[in-house]
Symmetry: C2
């Protein structure tokens, strides 16, 4: 048998030309998004003032199995894709595990993460619709960077509301977005009504993703129809675009004669996890294969492991539609001590449904254990991982250590979503022993749950 190479890159003609819609493989669909005023399921017309029309259609389309990737998007994908599937020989050796560990590395582009996969798609559809620009929020900054890059490519303006604590902790993220001519504002800001309201109520707030979303939505809706709002995670459309990760991974593993026993991904809003697992989860739902699917989340923002499956707003300002998802409550704000992303109060409705129905596992880690894994990984694999990605590394390492104990040579696939070059403050805190963990108390969680909308659909939750 030929030795499996360290890195496998598909050739251009092997790259997927269609996105895969995981919902099409689900016997039961996720519950529909509801209009916050009428509590009725949303149609394309309801979404059109917020989202680009084509994206609104994708958002609501649970039936179509494959959606062609427009050629213009494929052209951009070819600029930085295919991403490599890497065999973690060194990590395996360092752990002394019989497991075979693979990871799909999405950090090889300026945005430093997988976020560009959906940013390119969303910017493209905005351009096709004749819009002048888009608005968005960003937390750790990867989504904002990716969107800036995509907008610059397609000639759109890009207004980014950046969670204030990230804005202050990561001045260089703003500079990268500046290279791509994006307009970056710390959130909450005085530019929007919702921002002014949040600032008035809580002047010292460091912001949250939910709050930045509220501001970005308001900015889009108030643009006189010239702009739309775009989001880097949570939404069905984002998972659709991110399916390119899983599709490439599956083709590459097939070329190696491999199929994962376990697929591990980090989970904030679910963009990477949903994309990575898509074809494998479909196999599982169809009974063709039976991989374990493991979501890894931070213990400081544990939406899957400690959240409620309820209808909730996607934002803090309570202006978005309601989605049924695992959530800590739209009023939940994770501890400021938590580094990096994965700070979102909710979780993709698709993933929430799959988790609720028992097709997926979830595990939560404290950040010091996550950074321990990040440093080990960096030393072994010549990639400095983003803190978000390091959650998946931690999960994969622990699966590999279980194999060491049991002697099983399982095949583990995990998603390495991006690089940590803009997270050195967090690394430094970890290396100098200054990093602390914060696990929310039950009381803190209850405070978040109290912010869940009081609607009939949430009775008894």
């Amino acid at each position: 048998m030929t030795k499996i190479p360290h890195r496998l890159y598909l050739t251009e003609d092997q790259m997927p030309q269609r996105w895969f819609n995981l919902r099409s493989a689900m016997a039961e669909q996720p519950d529909p998004m509801l209009h916050p005023a009428t509590l009725q399921p949303l149609g394309v017309d309801d979404l059109a003032p917020i989202f680009c029309t084509e994206l609104a259609k994708q958002e609501l389309d649970g039936a179509t199995e494959f959606i062609d990737i427009p050629e213009e998007i494929q052209e951009v994908y070819k600029m930085y894709r295919p991403s490599p599937l890497i065999r973690a020989y060194n990590l395996e050796r360092a752990l002394g595990t019989p497991a075979r560990i693979y990871y799909k590395f999405e950090g090889n582009n300026t945005s430093g993460s997988h976020k560009l996969n959906s940013a390119v798609a969303q910017a493209y559809y905005a351009k096709m619709q004749g819009l002048t620009g888009v608005t968005t929020e960003t937390g750790a900054g990867q989504w904002g960077t990716a969107l800036s890059e995509a907008c610059s490519y397609f000639g759109l303006t890009c207004d980014v509301f950046m969670v204030k604590c990230s804005y202050e902790q990561k001045p260089f993220r703003k500079a990268v977005m500046g290279v791509f001519d994006a307009d970056v504002t710390p959130s909450p800001s005085n530019l929007t009504e919702v921002g002014r309201k949040i600032l008035a109520e809580n002047p010292g707030t460091t912001g949250s993703l939910g709050c930045a979303i509220s501001e970005a939505v308001e900015a889009a809706v108030g643009s006189g129809g010239k702009k739309r709002y775009v989001l880097g995670s949570v939404l069905n459309q984002v998972l659709l675009h991110q399916s390119i990760i899983g599709l490439e991974s599956k083709i590459a593993m097939e070329q190696l004669g491999e199929y994962p026993d376990v697929v591990v991904g980090c989970a904030g809003g679910g963009s990477n996890l949903g994309g990575l697992i898509a074809p494998f989860m479909a196999d599982k739902l169809k009974g063709v294969k039976n991989p374990r699917i493991v979501a890894v989340e931070p213990a400081s923002c544990p939406s899957l492991t400690r959240g409620k499956y309820a209808y909730d707003f996607c934002d803090t300002g309570r202006v978005t539609p309601l989605a049924r998802m695992y959530t800590l409550g739209c009023g939940f704000i994770p501890s400021a001590s938590h580094a990096g992303g994965l700070r979102y109060h909710g979780m993709s409705p698709v993933l929430s449904k799959l988790y609720h129905d028992g097709h997926m596992e979830a595990v939560a880690y404290e950040q010091t254990r996550v950074f321990e894994a990040a440093v080990l990984f960096a030393k072994q694999e010549t990639i400095l991982p983003a803190p978000e990605s390091a959650h998946a590394i931690r999960g994969a390492i622990d699966e590999a250590l279980k194999c060491k104990e049991s002697g099983e040579a399982k095949t583990i696939l995990f998603g390495l979503t991006g690089t940590g070059y803009f997270d050195m403050t967090a690394y430094e805190n970890y290396l100098t022993g200054k990093m602390t963990d914060h696990i929310p108390t039950d009381e803190e969680l209850q405070k978040g749950f109290d912010s869940l909308p009081d609607i009939p659909q949430n009775k008894g939750i």
Copy 2:
């Protein structure tokens, strides 16, 4: 004809297993390094207290054409190589040039640059010799990061003297090195005699690469034989290791049916340029092909375009051997306004000889023009280039624009040595109009030339 893909990655079995020694193709060898006290050509024994023995041999070996890459080094190369050869379709379109532009991208590893290619080799030989660690200097920080990474892999300590202005401008570079357990000291420091002397003479100095070299050499020589000094550029051995860049490029271009009409690389000490051009320059020297070879350097540190071809110290403290090279004088310190690397006073003796004999061209650019190219490139090619690398981009763009004028569809190959994630301060200065250019006056240059050693070999220079 099949369309040329955006990115070509060699497979593992296509990767070179031997380094190529460009000196073996030179009819006339570079002048030998001289002992600073005796002014006699150096032998392995002279170099052994400073360099690892195997590396000292490589340094002095101008004859051997190919040197096998030890298997352990090949194993590490496979963790982050082959690097992609990328066709810059978008950049070509943006420029409207008939030229075909290719670049070899070396930034896909934690060190963010090509420097890892030689760091791995030097750390390996140090380990094989039974040393406990190595000492080095770093300017922009890429070499220090690469060496830290390599030392961590092979279990060696790594003492890095980092040019003070970089240390202060790039705190996160230090943090990355910290991930790999390196010991980083701003230079000049109080840890060495030469550092204390320089500080006493010029307490406000922001340091220089030459000065950091002096400190690192002293720290190695004073280690009781347990450590050796390693250098990331200038040396013959470094160019040998970096030949992997050119060898991979040539194989990849052959697969595409291409051969470069022009090869462009940035030039600080010459590590990337020497590696990139090696097989193409050999073709030229042998008369097989006739590519133009263009070195691009900063106008603020113009060793090739305005320096003297003379014997000079490799460091500011005047403790190293003497090398005949294009140099601004070991006392030359570039303006603090100059961003990024390429701050070295001299140039690889191999490249200096080739330039002196007319086999290579050189051009110098002001940094604002370099950053203009960097931003254009980032927008078109989804890679945020390092300022050093952006010199090559500027050079390649100008070659492509010449093609636009003449209508010639030339094939241009340039080296994209690394990413600019740690250079956002410089980007921000450029984007906000705060970046200034400094071209040394003739008087400033003369001051540097006055520091050239007053030895018989330099008479009449």
